[in-house]
């Protein structure tokens, strides 16, 4: 049953704490502010429904990260079919170019563009490590891998990013 005040507080606290991180995750994978906002909003609305149905969440951060990851995957699934329909109709196609206009620093902009060009498996791990600031151990727990595997993957991802940046 809905313990009204308590549940409202949990959801809103989670929003205040994790909204930016979820947005960052979504933005870096969708390259669109609007899409990222929609995805984040959808994740929190689902959280409301989930808790409203009487479910308990022991680890909010992990729950939200799993939710945003699934939401982004869903977005790409929908985008594929949507784009195909739109191409057939000769209409609008969502651009894959990242919106990096808000970066003033040219090096940062370069790094972010290069990050965008990386395969997902490298991109995800670099975001988690350097953008979200997670340790290899945290990432390993989140992805159900060993810390060693994650460390090796981070090292390779850095190598790929450098190639992209021609460093």
């Amino acid at each position: 049953m809905w313990a009204h005040k308590n549940e409202n507080r949990i959801v809103l606290e989670a929003y205040d704490t994790f909204a930016d991180r979820l947005y960052r995750y979504a933005f870096l994978r969708t390259s669109s502010k609007e899409v990222a906002e929609d995805i984040v909003q959808e994740v929190f609305l689902k959280l409301c429904d989930y808790i409203g149905s009487g479910n308990m969440i022991s680890e909010m951060e992990r729950f939200l990260m799993r939710s945003i990851r699934n939401a982004v995957i869903d977005f790409y699934r929908k985008k594929k079919s949507l784009s195909l329909e739109m191409i057939e109709e000769g209409g609008f196609v969502i651009s894959d170019d990242p919106d990096l206009s808000f970066y003033d620093d040219i090096d940062v902009k370069r790094a972010m563009r290069a990050l965008h060009e990386l395969p997902d498996k490298y991109k995800d791990i670099l975001i988690m490590r350097f953008v979200d600031g997670l340790t290899p151990q945290d990432i390993a727990e989140e992805l159900n891998e060993s810390a060693n595997v994650i460390s090796v993957r981070i090292h390779r991802a850095i190598g790929e990013l450098k190639k992209q940046m021609h460093i």
């Binding site: 947005y23 960052r24 940062v108 370069r110 600031g133 850095i158 990013l161």
Partner: protein
């Protein structure tokens, strides 16, 4: 600074810049709060329903029963005697009607409605008279009985139309019943009841000394018929009724007359007959005597208390005319009533 550190700094800086704009963040928070508020209302309703589940369930069950009774009631309204739902119509529907008229303190109106319902049923059944004969006759009997009760309590103005309708219904029913049967006689008697109610009967006291003779005021045609019923009981306490089939009545023909009587006294009565054209005589539904043709044979029987006698005999109509009278003899108090005979030309 090593390269990994450079990458960390660049991505870290890039990442820190990726935040929700305050405006967007506030709008999104508002949307989430609205969803939470809606969920809260929904949950409160759910909580209420959950906590009052027994009331909701009970109410739903009551509503279902009410709807079911209403449906059956509506279906039963069109039912006729012999139908599955007819008992429902007679009990539930008509008790509800009675309740309604009881509230409005109008019992006469209720009786009137009930008689009209029975008449309507009879009319519908008369569409297939042969198939429904028994039911129709029973219905006619009921109409007459209710009419009798109604006639005693209703004013003449109120009763006029009901009596007219009932009489027509009973006459229609008489037409399909076998002449000279107890049912036939009963129905004919009921029409007599109708006649009493409408005030068209002349009732006179006859002399108790002799049965089989008529009062001085009677016409010759009545005498002719009366002669055919020369039963002379030793005491004047048995009740007999005399009837005839108006359908079979012909000017110069012979009509079957049935006399039904019951010894309502606590004495044994002697019933003798000297000059009867007897066809059959039954005592308590057992044939006492029966002849194939009209043979004038005297008989002499005794009737114990509560014995019932049915005597059937052909009577020559002779010179009966339209508007002639034939006697219905009610011998309990030696009261003789005369009802008009309808002769179809």
């Amino acid at each position: 600074m090593n390269q990994e550190k450079d990458i960390e700094i660049l991505l870290g800086e890039g990442g820190r810049d990726i935040t929700l704009e305050p405006k967007s963040k506030a709008r999104m928070r508002h949307v989430i709060e609205a969803r939470l508020s809606r969920l809260e209302r929904k949950t409160r309703l759910h909580d209420f329903i959950f906590s009052h589940a027994y009331i909701v369930r009970g109410g739903t069950a009551l509503l279902a029963v009410f709807v079911a009774v209403l449906s059956v009631s509506a279906a039963a309204e069109g039912s006729l005697p012999g139908d599955l739902l007819y008992n429902f119509k007679r009990t539930v529907n008509e008790r509800a009607l009675q309740g309604y008229f009881g509230i409005t303190n109008n019992e006469i109106a209720f009786e009137k409605v009930v008689i009209n319902r029975r008449i309507e049923e009879a009319q519908e059944l008369l569409q297939a008279p042969e198939k429904n004969k028994k039911i129709i006759i029973a219905l006619g009997d009921e109409i007459g009985t209710k009419l009798e009760l109604f006639s005693t309590s209703a004013t003449s103005e109120e009763s006029e139309q009901v009596i007219k309708d009932s009489k027509n219904a009973i006459l229609s029913i008489i037409n399909i019943s076998e002449p000279a049967t107890p049912e036939y006689v009963r129905l004919a008697t009921l029409v007599n009841v109708d006649a009493v109610a409408s005030g068209s009967v002349l009732a006179t006291k006859s002399s108790p000394s002799k049965l089989g003779t008529t009062s001085e005021s009677e016409s010759t045609t009545l005498s002719a018929v009366s002669v055919a019923a020369p039963i002379v009981p030793p005491v004047s306490s048995a009740t007999y009724s005399l009837s005839l089939s108006t359908e079979n009545l012909k000017r110069d023909g012979v009509i079957d007359i049935t006399i039904i009587g019951r010894n309502t006294t606590d004495e044994t009565l002697r019933l003798s007959h000297r000059d009867s054209c007897l066809i059959s005589l039954e005592i308590n539904s057992h044939v006492y005597r029966e002849t194939g043709e009209c043979e004038k044979k005297p008989f002499d029987i005794t009737l114990k208390p509560n014995d019932e006698v049915v005597w059937k005999s052909p009577v020559k109509v002779g010179s009966l005319n339209a508007g002639s009278y034939i006697a219905v003899l009610k011998l309990g108090g030696f009261t003789e009533k005369r009802i008009p005979v309808i002769i179809k030309e």
